[in-house]
């Protein structure tokens, strides 16, 4: 099968966020990441579109996404001081949702920066 090519793709492994990477991929994995550094290549090649993990786990048992979302919402809603933390390896769009979540919950909000 012929590989598809994406030009000027963006690498989010580190803070440099290079946006000149050429990706060669099929439906399942990226085979080549031209112009990416060692770290970036590993980042692109190590993720696949395979279903390696269950959709969700609740108390270690496999669960559906809907169940997990409901459980997460309940835990966070019941807490007196919930913490929303991380947000490094995710998109700005998700980060905005996280800020909205902490705002709605009346909780704590923090990122890797505080480490």
């Amino acid at each position: 099968m012929e590989l598809q090519v994406i030009n000027n793709a963006t690498c989010t492994f580190c803070g440099c966020v290079c946006d000149d990477i050429q990706l060669h991929h099929d439906d399942v994995r990226i085979h080549k990441a031209n112009k990416a550094c060692v770290l970036g290549t590993a980042w692109f090649l190590n993720h696949t579109a395979e279903k390696k993990y269950p959709d969700a786990l609740i108390d270690g048992r496999e669960a559906t996404l809907d169940e997990a979302i409901e459980a997460a919402a309940n835990f966070l809603y019941e807490a007196d001081m919930p913490l929303v933390y991380g947000m490094s390896n995710t998109t700005c769009e998700a980060q905005k949702e996280c800020v909205a979540l902490a705002d709605q919950l009346g909780g704590l909000l923090d990122s890797h920066t505080s480490l």
Binding site: A9, T10, C11, T12, F13, C14, G15, C16, V17, L23, H25, W43, A49, Y53, A56, L57, L65, A68, I69, E70, A71, A72, A73, F75, L76, A79, D80, M81, P82, L83, V84, Y85, G86, M87, S88, N89, T90, T91, C92, E93, A94, Q95, K96, E97, C98, V99, L101, D103, Q104, L105, G106, G107, L108, L109, D110, S111, H112, T113, S114, L115
Partner: protein
């Protein structure tokens, strides 16, 4: 390397000085390597701040940083003689003893250098889009991290609301972790607290933190299978171009759905119980 009107030969017109406690691979790329004694960054930068203002510092004090007066004098001459100086600094500075004060020292030095020439400083951010989190929190809450909404509006106090401190003291009673794996990196007392309370993890992998959590949700990796935006460490947003279609939903979608699920429940502050706006905060 990019060329410019004033630096037409690219890299050749630039001088790179590397300061580190050991000679790393990066030293090969540098023109000058300065080996500073571990834990003496703050002292070295403070000496530089004094010396650029022509204040006297003893040879012995300089020697304690691991450098000699000749080397420091040469460095200052190069800094003052540069057309445009830039200091990049990383976690070796900001996460060792002195922490934020080490960064503050470097930023102050860069500001003070502008009495002689153009100088700037920029933190080298580690993980992917941590800059994006900073930037977004600033415009939505006014603060870059370490925020509490418990009084209904944003408050800021690193040390009080920052995650490691909160977890080690056992201050929070639920945790939502996204795009991070504190179970692998944080001190043991912090990890122990995550085990005690309901922890929820969103991650493309089942991580250390997932294993101690009550809820794990697998999500699509950003930039590879999830679209959106990421900020470069100089605070420029870059569009993401995912190559793969993930069998999992994006972080954005999952957090939005959690937000929607919570929004269906009664709001924690009863309607009308609070003023619209406070003029005096706590």
């Amino acid at each position: 390397m990019q060329k410019s009107k004033f630096l037409p030969r690219g890299r050749k017109d630039r001088t790179m000085v590397l300061v580190d406690i050991r000679e790393t691979k990066s030293a090969k790329a540098a023109d000058i390597f300065l080996q500073v004694r571990p834990g003496k960054d703050f002292e070295l930068i403070t000496i530089l701040r004094a010396l650029i203002k022509d204040r006297q510092v003893s040879d012995q004090a300089i020697a304690e940083t691991g450098l000699t007066r000749e080397v420091i004098d040469d460095l200052i001459r190069r800094m003052k003689g540069a057309k445009f100086g830039c200091v990049f600094f990383g976690m070796g500075l900001s996460m060792t003893r002195g922490k934020h004060m080490n960064s503050a020292a470097l930023l102050t030095l860069a500001a003070e250098m502008n009495a002689f020439t153009k100088f700037v400083a920029m933190p080298m951010r580690g993980h992917g889009n941590v800059t994006g989190a900073d930037v977004i929190m600033r415009w939505q809450t006014g603060y870059p991290f370490g925020i509490s909404f418990s009084r209904g509006y944003p408050r800021y106090n690193p040390g009080e609301f920052s995650t490691v401190d909160v977890l080690v003291r056992g201050d929070c009673d639920a945790a939502f972790i996204i795009g991070a794996d504190p179970g692998a990196t944080m001190p043991q007392p912090a990890i122990d607290h995550l085990k005690r309370i309901p922890t929820i993890v969103l991650d493309p992998h089942v991580t250390h933190t997932s294993k101690l959590s009550r809820v794990h949700i697998t999500t699509a990796p950003q930039g590879i299978a999830a679209p959106g935006t990421a900020y470069r460490m100089d605070e420029l947003p870059m569009p993401l171009k995912p190559a793969l279609k993930s069998p999992y939903p994006s972080d954005e979608e999952v957090v939005r759905r959690i937000n929607e699920a919570i929004a269906k429940k009664p709001f924690w502050l009863p309607d009308g119980s609070q003023p619209q706006m406070l003029n005096a905060q706590v």
